[in-house]
């Protein structure tokens, strides 16, 4: 065995495991940047008609930004046309990154450690009990625990939902079937924004959990190598 030079920041015993493939890391950070731009330009577009429903009747749906009030620092594009051009340009890397990521998961078999399946329900409850301190021992887990699987499956579905609702309001006549599926143009526009709020909430929770529960996972998403508390593979 060769000795690895000691990293003073880490316990000497922390084993290093190869955690994330380069495709996953690239997709993760590309997606983070693209999504930030999509949301900022989307908020710029939203200001042109800051309500949900029609001109004569605002739907009784929860909307924290009804009437506007989105700070300039949170917007991209400067005016409606600028916002549209950013949004429709960034839609390409957003969709392509998502598809490359899904294809990688499918062909590498990585999906097995990420997809939440019925058999993950029990471990997810155990994990939740642990987080609520109703269970003392951390449940055994593979690469990800069952709650993580639920989160990472959900976020991919949310990405797909945001893309589909986006296409529906982009071409509502050509993609009339999709609009119908979503309950009409006005509702499709609402679902598109509901996805935004969910993305923001997810990201906040995601970042908080990374730093409080498993900071080593941040480094793993950058370098690919994981030296934290949960080194097991699936």
């Amino acid at each position: 065995m060769t000795t690895v030079p000691a990293d003073t920041n880490l316990p000497a015993a922390a084993p290093a495991v190869r955690r994330h493939h380069g495709v996953v890391r690239l997709a993760h950070w590309l997606n983070a940047a693209t999504l930030a731009g999509m949301i900022a330009s989307g908020l710029q577009i939203y200001l042109a008609f800051p309500h949900f429903g029609t001109k004569e009747r605002t739907y009784a749906l929860p909307n924290p930004w009804d009437g506007g009030g989105i700070p300039e620092a949170a917007r991209l594009g400067g005016w409606l046309a600028g916002g549209l051009n950013w949004h429709f340009a960034l839609a390409w890397p957003f969709v392509i990154t998502g598809l490359v990521y899904l294809l990688f998961l499918a062909f590498s078999g990585e999906w097995r450690s990420l997809l939440f399946r019925p058999r993950d329900v029990r471990p997810a409850i155990d994990m939740q009990l642990y987080y609520l301190r109703l269970r003392k021992q951390h449940p055994p887990q593979g690469k990800h625990n069952a709650l993580q699987k639920a989160a990472y499956t959900f976020i991919v579905a949310l990405g797909a939902a945001s893309a589909l609702s986006g296409f529906a309001i982009y071409k509502p006549v050509q993609l009339a079937w999709l609009v119908t599926l979503l309950g009409g143009f006005e509702l499709a526009r609402y679902w598109h924004f509901l996805a935004v709020w969910t993305f923001i909430a997810f990201t906040v929770l995601h970042v908080v959990l990374v730093f409080t529960v498993d900071p080593a996972s941040l480094r793993a998403m950058i370098t690919g190598w994981y030296r934290g508390r949960f080194p097991s593979h699936d």
Binding site: G78, L80, A81, N85, W86, V173
Partner: protein, 241 residues
């Protein structure tokens, strides 16, 4: 002062710095609409999106859904770019000039247009701002007028001009020849009011509102792709829905 060896800053710190500074400087430089560096690239992608929208997503024969007249909206905003509602000094002297790359250029009075077979439909209007409104429109299909003037094979686009302070639009021929693309002279069963583009305006449920030229003066067939009032300022050229 700064130590040239910057002890304490490891390679990964620079990496982290880059992760933050990269997007931050990008946003700072592009807070507007991309600036001189990125705006042209955004415009180029917009042209690509126009191509996808016209050649892949647009079905020439798909009709926009129609509604019962009871579904009409009570509020249908109407925009124009002039300071005041554009009106004609002499409405009776108005006629539509139809020309460009055609075999038989002509001028059509409102009476002549109203004598042609008309189309009436109640459809949903999509504004680029994000709102919609349902209304009934009556007019002559652009394709019917095209048949009268016989476009030359070189004609690839349409240009619609108005007396609203130079407002104009360029169209792809496929959308122009769509069965629901009409030269409209009535709104909700009544002659167009000045706010709605009297005496004649372009209407189609397969385009966003800013593509629907009001206060028409001329319709021309062209080989080159005409721009448009908003399109030349950065709005997507195709504007198809």
């Amino acid at each position: 002062m700064t130590d040239p060896h910057t002890p304490g800053l490891a390679r990964r710190d620079f990496l982290r710095l880059g992760l933050v500074a990269g997007p931050a400087s990008l946003v700072a430089a592009c807070g507007w609409d991309g600036g001189p560096l990125i705006k042209p690239r955004l415009q180029a992608i917009s042209r690509l999106n126009d191509w996808v929208g016209e050649k892949i997503l647009l079905s020439p024969n798909r009709l926009a859904p129609t509604y019962a007249t009871s579904a009409r909206s009570t509020t249908v905003p109407a925009y124009f770019i002039s300071d005041d509602v554009p009106t004609l000094a002499q409405p009776s002297a108005w006629s539509l000039e139809v020309g460009g790359l055609v075999r038989r250029p002509t001028r059509l009075t409102l009476a002549m247009l109203q004598a042609l077979p008309s189309v009436t439909y109640t459809v949903k209007h999509h504004c680029v701002e994000g709102w919609t409104a349902i209304a009934t429109w009556t007019g002559v299909p652009v394709a019917t007028v095209a048949a009268l003037v016989e476009p030359l094979p070189a004609a690839r686009h349409l240009r619609f001009d108005s007396f609203d302070d130079g407002y104009f639009n360029g169209w792809d021929l496929t959308s122009g020849m769509h069965a629901q693309t009409i030269l409209a002279y009535a709104f909700n069963d009544r002659p167009l009011s000045p706010e709605r583009g009297a005496p004649l305006r372009l209407y189609s449920p397969i385009k966003l509102g800013y593509k629907l030229t009001k206060y028409l003066t001329r319709m021309s067939f062209t080989a080159e792709r005409p721009g448009g009032y908003w399109e030349d300022q950065g709005y997507p050229w195709l504007g198809g829905v």
